[in-house]
């Protein structure tokens, strides 16, 4: 065990980690930030996506020690301090982009990374970008719609609701 320190959602946090401790485990079990979810063990599902130094990372694929000194952003830090949802979170609620909510933290974090690098993505670009985030509930319809809406694009013409 050794101590790992990182900045999480703007706040410096420390905890003990084994060499094999994954960042996802460290966030959930050591720091108690259970908003980051673990849905698989092969780095496929994307429920655990967080941002490390501004880059989206599947936190089950990174060791906690590798994040020593890093700036980590998780779902818990996305809303404003008064609880106001950010644009992407609000779009997910407005367009029913979530059902059971389990994949949602990863979806929101991936969407944030996408819109940072591509502020007006096309439908195809969104679908391509989300290839590493699996949702079993929504059939992706309202997730893609929410991300289009979050990027300021008109979603009124999308087939039905």
């Amino acid at each position: 065990m050794s101590q790992v320190t990182m900045t999480v959602n703007g706040k410096e946090m420390s905890g003990d980690a084994e060499g094999r401790t994954l960042l996802s485990q460290f966030l959930r079990d050591t720091l108690g930030l259970t908003g980051t979810h673990v849905g698989c063990d092969t780095s496929q599902c994307g429920a655990c996506v967080v941002h490390v130094n501004g880059q989206p990372v599947k936190s089950c694929t990174m060791l906690a020690m590798e994040a020593e000194g890093a700036d980590v952003a998780t779902i818990e830090g996305q809303a404003a301090p008064d609880g106001t949802l950010n644009t992407i979170q609000q779009a997910f609620q407005d367009h029913h982009g979530l059902q059971c909510g389990f994949c949602t933290p990863g979806m929101v974090m991936s969407a944030a990374a996408l819109l940072k690098e591509n502020p007006k993505p096309s439908e195809a670009e969104i679908r391509d970008y989300l290839e590493g985030n699996i949702c079993r509930c929504t059939g992706y319809h309202n997730i893609v719609k929410a991300i289009l809406a979050a990027s300021g694009q008109d979603v009124g013409s999308i087939a039905a609701e």
Binding site: R28, H37, Q93, H96, L98, C100, F102
Partner: protein, 787 residues
């Protein structure tokens, strides 16, 4: 103009706030002080005799608290099966024991042999690797027909064979169906596979057992769709704990799709072990474990025959199905290929006679049970595929053939023992033809062909039996449970309400939609209503959420309880206004006396109920809290028509979904936004089944598709936007809301249209292909094109 509140409105989901901010409370987010962790050592062979399990070295590993093996569970009950099917000859099905930890034999890859409880999850896993297991591997039985051959290895030595049951339905119609086949002008036959699927809710299963020695009370936190069912099954049949000493909590649950209905050994283990070591015990499944321990779905092999007369009227349907049960009977497994499947074989059509034969088979594979749709997708797929094939053979339009045979008068008693109360199959087909822009298809096909692609269009109808289920009926059919639902409505002194429901929300949005109903009934704001679910300690005994039953059955219980509340509140209001009870009206949260300007507000009445100073105490009790149990009079029968348009690359065999349209009739709709979302998700899963997903075992019973690297889950770029329409509404006649249920429709209704579209594309390219089994992978398409 759309409503902004109450029934028919689409308020944003209140549960979203916690899910979008990382504040959900899923089972794995719960940690109980002092908890130990369990890791299950699972069989890596499909079939074997356990000669020895040596835990000595493992027990000495760091952090190990205790190791349990099958021996620790001798004298403990096995996992019960909740449904007994009676076979064609009047005999009960063969029902093998299902131990919590393997006893003497392992019967599928993933069968748990031992469980290590340790201080950390890593220590438990490390120690499990040090357990020495001596297993004599036995031949594995994987193929269902081989399993039924004389001399086949038996999965269970104490059963007479691998046949669980041989079911015939309606047995009395068998000869009439044979006669109709002989008299037919045309018979279309199709052999097909309904591929084995893995439900894959994104949250893997978790169980935490906790025991309080001071009170002798056990608590189980679990990822369940029905905590009361788990409490009853585990308490009464496995561990011998009475309900009042056992609490089951299913908090936020990350999807279910059926596979979280069932009572699993891990739940019983954690509850048992927590008492044995007097510490909380937590288990979190890895996804790899989920693949080999969650009950799988579907896995039918079917031969279906459709008989038609010279005018193309359907005259008979006959099917023979082999249904895989896996190695043990999961909780509701026997009901899926029988009563949830055979009763739907009339479909939307007035076929006069139907005979369904199902042979349920034990194999050395993971148990198979209900997965979204459960039996009804299997029925729909075979029927809608054979109708499409018949249309091609007869050279008639597949939509016209369907329309010609539609049931048009309701109620309609089918030849397979159910009575459809309402429906409008032409109505949904009309809606579909509009939204799918069928008239524009030929132009789209030409455009695809100009790019060297083939384009196909496939249509199908579906009907499902939902709102499960009338208890007296399912009792006659072998259910060992009632299938009512419950609700307690508690009104607080200042007018707010709490509804404690036996239904369970794991993505369906009950916390938002259920209050809409109460708000409509009383005329108050939805924010005054809170929904409580998922904890046996504070909800009435209820059967949970599956079979598209929450609103139709659970919502009906809530309506009945609320009606009792309103009736009592009217008595109080009558007293307060010194009027006759019969003259009291409730509108917009105000009680008034008809024909006068006298009124009291909802809050005045609720306050009086709890501060009964001026109150008819001689007639009614103080307080305002009512419970109702609602047992449905019939199933509900949602129906619809779906259309899929695919593009097929003849160079590679790859199929892409270009358009998908769904027209459903769900009766009345409480929250259109949520209903659309349910259909979207079902279609996503149906496209997954049709094109991508397939659980693969090799001949030795090794599960080859045991991770997301090997099992193709639908991704965002595998599906298009869906076009859905719910304008066709024929309300259910026998529940107070007139609702039919929408949770499973998409998964039931979508696979046949996808495959029908692929066949259409191939035939348009001159390929004489009449069927491809799901998943319709590029390899299978390409192989079919090569003849």
């Amino acid at each position: 103009m759309p409503k902004d509140h109450g029934i028919g409105a689409s308020p944003k989901r209140r549960e979203d706030i916690r899910f979008l901010t990382g504040a959900g409370n899923y089972t794995d987010d719960i940690n109980v002080n002092g908890q130990a962790y369990v890791h299950f050592l699972r069989s890596d062979v499909a079939h074997g005799r356990i000669n020895a399990v040596n835990t000595g070295a493992a027990a000495a590993m760091p952090g190990v608290v205790r190791i349990f093996t099958g021996a620790d569970f001798e004298g403990v009950g096995g996992l019960p099966c909740g449904w007994c099917v009676t076979d064609r000859h009047g005999e009960p099905m063969q029902e093998p024991a299902h131990p919590v930890l393997a006893q003497g034999k392992v019967r599928h890859v993933g069968d748990p042999i031992a469980a290590v409880v340790a201080e950390t999850a890593e220590q438990a896993r490390d120690a499990a690797e040090a357990i020495e297991v001596d297993i004599e591997e036995l031949p594995a039985v994987v193929d269902m027909k081989a399993a039924l051959a004389d001399g086949s290895t038996k999965v269970h030595d104490d059963l007479t064979s691998n046949l669980c049951y041989d079911w015939g339905f309606v047995e009395e119609n068998k000869d009439a169906v044979e006669q109709a086949m002989q008299d037919a002008a045309h018979v279309t036959t199709l052999e097909l596979v309904n591929n084995r699927l893995i439900a894959n809710p994104m949250e893997p299963r978790v169980a935490i057992g906790d025991y309080n020695r001071a009170t002798d009370e056990s608590t189980l936190y679990t990822t369940s769709q029905n905590p009361h069912v788990i409490r009853l099954l585990m308490g009464a049949f496995v561990l011998g704990i009475p309900e009042h000493k056992l609490r089951v909590i299913a908090p936020d649950v990350g999807g279910g799709f059926g596979t979280k209905i069932f009572h699993y050994g891990e739940e019983a283990f954690c509850t048992f072990a927590a008492k044995a070591i007097n510490r909380p015990v937590k288990w979190t499944a890895s996804r790899s474990e989920a693949f080999m321990s969650d009950a799988h779905g579907r896995d039918h092999v079917t031969r279906i025959e459709l008989a038609l007369d010279k005018d193309n009227n359907f005259t008979a349907v006959r099917t023979e199905t082999y249904a895989n049960m896996g190695a043990y009977l999961s909780t509701f497994a026997p009901s899926v290929p029988t009563w949830l499947h055979g009763t739907l074989m009339a479909g939307n059509y007035k076929t006069p006679v139907v005979y369904v034969n199902v042979k349920a088979v034990f194999t050395n594979t993971v148990p198979v049970d209900a997965y979204r749709g459960a039996g009804r997708p299997e029925a729909t797929f075979q029927l809608e595929r054979v109708i499409d094939k018949a249309a091609r053979e007869l050279g008639v339009d597949p939509i016209a053939l369907r329309r010609q045979n539609f049931i048009t008068e309701f109620p309609y008693a089918t030849p397979v023992a159910v009575e459809y109360d309402t429906g409008d199959y032409h109505g949904t087909m009309d809606a579909l033809e509009k939204i799918a822009d069928l008239s524009g298809f030929e132009a789209r096909r030409k455009e695809s062909e100009a790019r060297g692609k083939l384009r196909g269009l496939g249509v199908n109808c579906y009907i499902e039996a939902c709102g499960i289920a009338p208890s007296n009926l399912v009792g006659q059919l072998g259910a060992r449970a009632g299938l009512y639902e419950s609700a307690t409505v508690r009104v607080n002194a200042t007018g707010g309400l709490v509804v404690m429901t036996g239904s369970h929300s794991h993505g369906q949005g009950h916390e938002t939609s259920f209050p809409q109903v109460i708000a409509e009934m009383i005329g108050i704001d939805e924010s005054m209503v809170e929904i409580v679910h998922g904890d046996t300690a504070n909800t009435p005994m209820g059967m949970g959420t599956y079979g598209s039953r929450s609103l139709a059955v659970g919502g009906s219980a809530m309506v009945r309880a609320t009606e009792k509340i309103i009736n009592k509140a009217k008595k109080i209001a009558a007293h307060l206004m010194e009027a006759a009870e019969a003259d009291i009206e409730l509108k917009d949260g105000q009680f008034s006396v008809a024909g006068t300007d006298k009124s009291v507000a909802w809050g005045d009445v609720t306050l009086a109920a709890y501060v009964p100073h001026n109150y008819p105490l001689e007639d009614i009790e103080p307080g305002l809290e009512e419970t109702a149990f609602y047992d449905p009079a019939n199933f509900t029968y949602p129906s619809g028509a779906y259309c899929c348009e695919v593009e097929l690359d003849p160079e590679t065999g790859k199929v892409t979904i270009e358009r998908f349209s769904a027209a459903d009739d769900f009766g009345n709709i409480v929250n259109p936004m949520i209903v659309d979302g349910q259909v979207h998700g079902g279609i996503g899963q149906g496209i997954g089944q049709a094109l991508l997903e397939g659980c693969v075992y090799d001949e030795n019973g090794q599960l080859l598709s045991a991770s997301y690297m090997d099992y193709a889950m639908p991704r965002a770029d595998d599906v298009p936007f869906y076009n859905v329409d719910h304008s066709s509404q024929t309300p259910c006649t026998h529940n107070p809301l007139g609702v039919k249920g929408c949770g499973e429709a998409g998964a039931i209704g979508s696979p046949p249209s996808v495959v029908n579209a692929v066949i259409d594309a191939l035939q348009s390219g001159g390929h004489d292909v009449t069927h491809i089994d799901m998943p319709v992978s590029p390899g299978r398409v390409w192989a079919a094109m090569q003849g």
